[in-house]
């Protein structure tokens, strides 16, 4: 198990490095001198040129690019993502303050999508070619084609504007008012999970159909095990493991979706912060936020791989020394 961890860790190393390179390069290509932006309007005045030079030095902008990259990377590795141009506060702290809102949304969406997708996918697989199966599949095909933000707008239109059941927007911290917080999460989380439900259902169904045809399932059935037991003990268990991997991949889509859905619902999370950074040309903030989201994505996948390995006797056996 340890060896497997190590191997996977060594794989994500280069990915992280390459990713940081992409983020760094994109920000280097952006127009504008970071020191001027940090200093603001005062930078235009001639008597401030010396101070500007000093600031450049302080920010390491006079060093060769490769060295700047190295410096930035070592800072990032220590959790220092720089200082926002706009608020002069550490990017890490700004993101940290917004993190609960986003994590709440992601958590509820993932839970919701699993709660819906697992029964739907199982039902479709067991009742293959039935009307239910066709309906579920049609839903899942449609689900991946609906743009998330539009889905959100429609939900607002129906549940907030027409029926007036739920508020159309705004995040309330869970610790301030748990009930209201959950109530407000409902529409954005549904929006986010729609795509996930469609994807998960489709995948689970295909995966279960395959598992159902495996020898051991047939054997178990032939032995006379009750089909519900077979289903739970063998089929679902085996089909859910590949699901984990799909979930890992979808976390990436979830973060992209999050940026847009936070916008639709005025959810002041990390995605919203990132967009604000883009509009304000607050490059350190954008750089930091995107780097952190990408990091989260890679680590989530790493974690899922480990979990998978832990659950899967074959991989465990392979690396047992």
């Amino acid at each position: 198990m340890g060896r497997y961890c190590l191997r996977r860790l060594m794989q994500i190393g280069p990915a992280l490095l390459a990713m940081s390179l992409v983020v760094f390069a994109a920000m280097q290509l952006a127009p504008g001198d970071p020191a001027v932006m940090r200093m603001g309007r005062a930078a235009a005045r001639p008597e401030n040129q010396a101070a500007l030079e000093a600031l450049r030095k302080e920010m390491g902008l006079d060093k060769p690019l490769l060295m700047q990259y190295g410096l930035w990377l070592s800072q990032v590795a220590r959790g220092n993502f720089g200082v926002s141009h706009r608020s002069d506060r550490p990017v890490f702290a700004l993101i940290g303050a917004r993190l609960p809102a986003s994590l709440q949304l992601i958590g509820i969406s993932l839970t919701l999508s699993l709660l819906v997708a697992i029964p739907l996918g199982t039902w479709a697989a067991l009742a293959r070619r039935s009307v239910a199966d066709h309906l579920i599949m049609a839903f899942s095909v449609a689900g991946v084609a609906i743009p998330g933000f539009w889905m959100g707008l429609i939900l607002i239109l129906v549940f907030a504007v027409r029926l007036d059941w739920l508020p159309p927007s705004g995040y309330v911290p869970f610790w301030e008012d748990p009930a209201e917080s959950l109530r407000r999460s409902l529409l954005p989380a549904t929006t986010l999970s729609f795509y996930l439900i469609a994807t998960f259902t489709r995948f689970l169904r295909a995966d279960m159909i395959e598992t159902l045809q495996e020898d051991y399932v047939r054997t178990a059935r032939a032995k006379g095990l009750r089909s519900r037991v077979v289903l739970r003990r063998h089929v679902l268990h085996n089909a859910l493991m590949p699901m984990l991997t799909v979930m890992g991949v979808e976390v990436g889509g979830l973060m992209g979706g999050m940026v847009i859905v936070e916008q639709v619902f005025g959810w002041s999370g990390v995605g919203w912060l990132t967009l604000q950074g883009i509009f304000n040309r607050d490059y350190p903030l954008v750089q930091g936020a995107i780097m952190l989201m990408a990091l989260f994505y890679i680590l989530a996948n790493f974690g899922i791989d480990l979990l998978n390995a832990f659950l899967n006797p074959r991989i465990r056996a392979q690396y047992a020394s």
């Binding site: 639709v264 005025g266 509009f279």
Partner: protein
């Protein structure tokens, strides 16, 4: 959505475009609701907590450097004091200076400071603080440095008296000082993060992108004592969210509400749509005349103005609020002169263009700020009218910083902007007209410049009116350097728990008069 991005910007419009800033007026001592404070009793009054939404976070608390309207409305005038202020009717009234004397020749202003004024750090506010604050403007070349242009010297006569000596009479001077906050020198190093002033509220904390908290200054003993115990400024992503929170009861007030959103609250008992008695906000299109040859011909400029479908703008951008106008001052101004309105007539514009030598039409650009829906929408409507007149208008959407660079450098053909004109007409011509008139690349006009100077340097009101009539008439006849579109509504929405709300024509809110009942 548009409004979402606007949210970050629209509240934003810069103060230096918007003229001077405003101030909290004395509480309207109407006795309404039994809560209205009489000055001394206010020390123990509890007016509750006001939670007001802002779509704009504030990241610099230095009153001499922050230009944002949001800062001045929500923070500046609550934490700091100013010698004078503009009241709800746009009159200049006493504030930190309880009275003043003006020498007969109009060149010496002596201000008498409020006795017992204290900074939040406990130190008495004295005349030296006033001289320090005004000198800081020029020494640090802050954005308000030009307010010192007419001033030769500022000195402390005694602890409670300050004397300004001007080069020549300067009529707008009392309004000029209404935009300069008095700051304590010893706290200046940290003022951009932890503002210390002498105003009716003190700064408690700023949580970036979350909230700004102010609380009542218990030591405040002036006429403008606050009744609210606490003001929480809640930073929300945009107006849609802010209004949702208002409906859900988690904020008490939303200000600068776009007209498109305000109508939803009409006729609902639990909300009040607030607006000042008259709005001094004008939407403009500015032209850098000499940068684009066709603009040099007055017939072309007139044709451009005739291609503006102002009734469509009033109807579909402002949803019936505000009023179309062509004159360059707010209708409520004492200097306003009714001129001939330029009406929508694209066919007539086409004829004018042909006369000017452009029978085939011409190309034109207009710069707008990304996400400021009003600008983009007006430009789109203009584009349509211009197309009928044969002008191909390209709308250039720029982010605030790029727009600002171009605006300040006048590197554009036309640009959309708005101006919240002060009580004195000078602010309009000083801020909007002068840069064009001085710039050989825009619209140099030495005579008009002289008029503008004369308008400010003449003490006599009737004489001033005559001068501003001249300026308005020429600006309208020449259609330069701006095309005025219409007056913009200044709307705020509060719940019915909020009492004593009042605003002036620049959108300033007078927090000291407000109480919130539970």
């Amino acid at each position: 959505m548009k409004a979402r991005i606007v949210s970050m910007l629209s509240a934003v419009l810069l103060l230096f475009l918007a003229g001077a800033c405003a101030a909290p007026a004395p509480p309207p001592n109407t006795g309404e609701g039994g809560q209205a404070a009489s000055d001394m009793a206010a020390a123990s009054a509890t007016g509750g907590t006001l939670i007001i939404a802002s779509t704009q976070d504030i990241d610099n608390y230095d009153p001499h450097w922050n230009q944002l309207i949001a800062y001045n409305v929500l923070v500046g005038h609550n934490i700091f004091e100013y010698l004078t202020l503009l009241d709800a009717d746009m009159n200049t009234v006493p504030a930190l200076a309880t009275s003043w004397d003006i020498s007969a020749d109009g060149t010496e202003y002596t201000f008498h400071l409020r006795p017992g004024a204290k900074f939040h750090n406990g130190r008495d506010l004295v005349a030296d603080d006033v001289t320090y604050s005004f000198r800081r403007l020029t020494e640090q070349e802050t954005i308000y440095a030009s307010k010192m242009d007419p001033v030769i010297s500022v000195e402390a006569v005694d602890n409670a008296t300050v004397k300004f000596t001007l080069q020549a009479p300067w009529a707008p001077f009392l309004e000029d000082v209404a935009s300069i906050a008095i700051v304590p020198q010893e706290a200046i190093e940290t003022i951009s993060k932890e503002p210390v002033g002498s105003g009716p509220f003190r700064f408690v904390e700023w949580q970036p992108n979350d909230r700004i908290v102010l609380e009542r200054n218990l030591d405040y003993a002036g006429a403008m004592s606050a009744q609210l115990d606490r003001i929480e400024i809640k930073i929300l992503p945009d107006y849609a969210v802010a209004l949702t929170n208002l409906e859900a009861g988690s904020v008490d007030a939303v200000y600068e509400v776009p007209a498109a959103d305000a109508d939803r609250f009409k006729g609902r008992d639990e909300f009040v749509i607030q607006s000042p008695s008259a709005s001094n906000s004008l939407f403009l299109l500015e032209m850098a005349v000499n940068r684009h040859a066709p603009l040099q011909d007055v017939r072309v400029r007139k044709a451009l103005a005739m291609s503006l479908d102002k009734s469509a703008i009033q109807q579909n951008v402002y949803f019936g609020h505000g009023e179309p106008q062509s004159g360059s001052l707010p209708r409520s101004s004492w200097a306003f002169v009714e001129g001939e309105e330029i009406t929508y007539d694209p066919a007539g514009a086409k004829v004018l263009l042909a006369e000017a030598g452009y029978p085939e039409g011409l190309d034109l650009t207009v710069k707008v700020i990304a996400g400021v829906a009003v600008m983009e929408n007006i430009a789109t409507i203009w584009q349509n009218g211009l197309a009928e007149a044969g002008v191909n208008l390209t709308v250039e959407i720029e982010d605030l910083s790029a727009w600002l660079d171009n605006y300040v450098g006048r590197t554009y053909q036309t640009i959309a902007n708005w101006m919240n004109v002060g009580g004195d007409p000078h602010s309009m011509y000083d801020i909007i007209f002068k840069p064009h008139l001085k710039d050989p690349d825009s619209y140099p006009d030495a005579e008009m410049l002289e008029w503008i100077e004369a308008g400010a340097a003449t003490p006599d009101l009737e004489a001033r009116k005559a001068i501003y009539r001249q300026i308005q008439e020429r600006a309208l006849a020449e259609v330069a350097p701006i095309i005025v579109v219409q007056s913009q509504p200044l709307l705020a929405i509060t719940t019915d728990k909020v009492q004593g709300w009042s605003m002036n024509g620049k959108g300033d809110i007078f927090f000291t008069g407000i109480t919130v009942t539970e």
